[in-house]
Amino acid sequence: MATTLSLNCRKTFPGRLTIDAQLELPLDPPRVLILFGPSGSGKTTLLRCLAGLEQPEEGTIRFGLDLWVDVARHHFVSPQARHLGYMPQDYALFPTHTVTGNIEYGLSELSQDERRTRVSEVLALLQLQGLEQAKPRQLSGGQQQRVALARAIARRPQLLLLDEPLSALDAPTRGALCSELRSVLTRLKIPTVVVTHDWTEALTLGDHIAVMSEGKILQVGVPQAVFSRPANETVAQIVGVETVIQGQVSESENGIATVHVKGTAITALAVEGVGSSVYVCVRAEDVVLEQAGSGMTSARNHLPGLVSDMVPQGVMVQVTIDCGFPLTATITRGAVEDLRLVPGASVIAAIKAGAVHLVPRLAG
């Protein structure tokens, strides 16, 4: 049975924002859908509508065979009856309960034995053993995040909703926990919706990504496609990373990694905890174009290619170069004239190693 998430919601916040979002996406086999967009774009509100904590003014929400919301028919399924796992942005751990108390809070329907098994299962999955009796305020940010996730998944929900799961953490912790979250989600096999404004998180965690802006869903697709081929200028601005391509890390030494992308070797800064499968991400403004046959620069990557497309964008021109894979560069109109760029012209794209971002790829 295909578990399809289908929503069509309208909700107005007078003077601020109108949410008017449509989405239809099969989440079977279990997939991770990213709701991606700048803050204030309505992602969290949409997630709260899914959780049943917010009621749309118009529209329907359907998950698989369940009709959750149908405003026209005054049908509204309570959050209790939706069988969800919901993790709010600040985790909302119950301060009066221990770690175990938090995790088994929603398990009162189970027998005591089952409950105990379930708790030790999720404690092991999220490596929380030894913290069973701790109170939330005694935990670090990363531990709190894991307890909140443990609590959300302990009931084996049919849909998992995570609101900015990593934003409450400091930057170094975030990177490590992002990879960890990815492997937990892969193992759980529960359809998941994740809200984030961070594109590395979106790439790491997501099978699908829905880009939101000002209350509307502008584009839905696999992350690579959305990042590389944004449907319009707004999406391009929101994602901000024009080239996203799969690659394999072949070696990593002294903080420098060599990545193979479709036969081309690219030098990048190594990132700790990244496996061999990566997304290679480059912003268009970080790509410098040189005339073929020109001299040395400090950039580590010089990729020869042919201009395949040129799209004017105000004073800038977005140039796509085919160098084994499509690479996007944004340069000024003056530079286009100086380099005498036309479609089919040969050119060298230079990228500094520091401008090549490696993001772990979601396995499976």
């Binding site: 959780a51 049943g52 904590l53 309570s78 959050p79 209790q80 009856a81 939706r82 069988h83 969800l84 796992g85 919901y86 709010p88 600040d90 909302a92 119950f94 301060p95 009066t96 809070y105 929603g106 009162s108 329907e109 609590r151 959300a152 009931r155």
Partner: protein, 224 residues
């Protein structure tokens, strides 16, 4: 000292505090979480005993439970004797009179509970009622104790309402404050002084308990 009056007063105050825990919690919950736009009408009614002279309140209660009202008739048909000038009638009056002293600290405490915790509980499949007992009550314990203790202390010292509804029947409706009044009327100042001192000491002790336990929760109205 009139130990019978002290015992009657203690019983009255304890039962009032207990009854208000049962009646006040749902009222406070509703006042805190309802989104009804005319909610303030009910809030004002609950707060009315704070500003109304006890004699006015007592007068209306007396009329409402008297033999000429449907409530009074129903009660005397049921039990066999009328409600005014009995301990039960006095208890009813005390509950109404002390209602804001329980409901307001309860509501102030509920107001402090983070809504996000309540929402998290709901998404974990826990019903609204179960969420109230599993989460909201433990988190607002200080406010609940404050409300119960304040209504107890407030009932200890009530005078006007007792006089109107309860009268002055030894062992039934004669409370400590009435006893002090009687002693003074009889020019027995020494007797009055002892009982009055007892009331001051007990009231002070009760308030010490409340303030020492939690300084944040006590507020006349919840902060918004």
């Amino acid at each position: 000292m009139n130990w019978t009056a002290i015992w009657v007063t203690f019983q009255l105050a304890s039962l009032t505090a207990m009854a208000l825990l049962i009646i006040g919690l749902p009222i406070a919950y509703w006042l805190t979480f309802s989104r009804w736009r005319w909610k303030f009408l009910v809030e004002s009614v609950v707060a009315l005993p704070l500003v109304l002279p006890p004699t006015v309140l007592g007068f209306y209660i007396l009329v409402a439970i008297g033999p000429h009202s449907p409530v009074g008739r129903f009660y005397s048909d049921l039990v066999g004797h009328p409600l005014p000038f009995t301990f039960e009638g006095l208890l009813l009056a005390s509950i109404l009179y002390s209602l804001p002293f329980a409901v307001q600290p309860f509501a102030a405490a509920f107001e402090q509970v983070d809504r996000r915790l309540i929402e998290a509980s709901w998404t974990l499949g826990v019903s609204k009622i179960a969420t109230f007992f599993k989460l909201i009550v433990p988190l607002s314990m200080a406010g609940l104790v404050t409300g119960a203790v304040l209504s107890f202390a407030h009932t200890l010292g009530e005078f006007g309402v007792v006089l109107m509804v309860g009268g002055n029947i030894e062992g039934e409706t004669r409370t400590v404050s009435i006893d002090i009044y009687d002693e003074v009327q009889a020019l027995n100042y020494a007797g009055a002084a002892k009982t009055a001192l007892l009331l001051v000491v007990v009231s002070y002790g009760v308030l010490l308990l409340v303030y020492a336990m939690n300084r944040k929760v006590w507020a006349v109205w919840p902060q918004r």
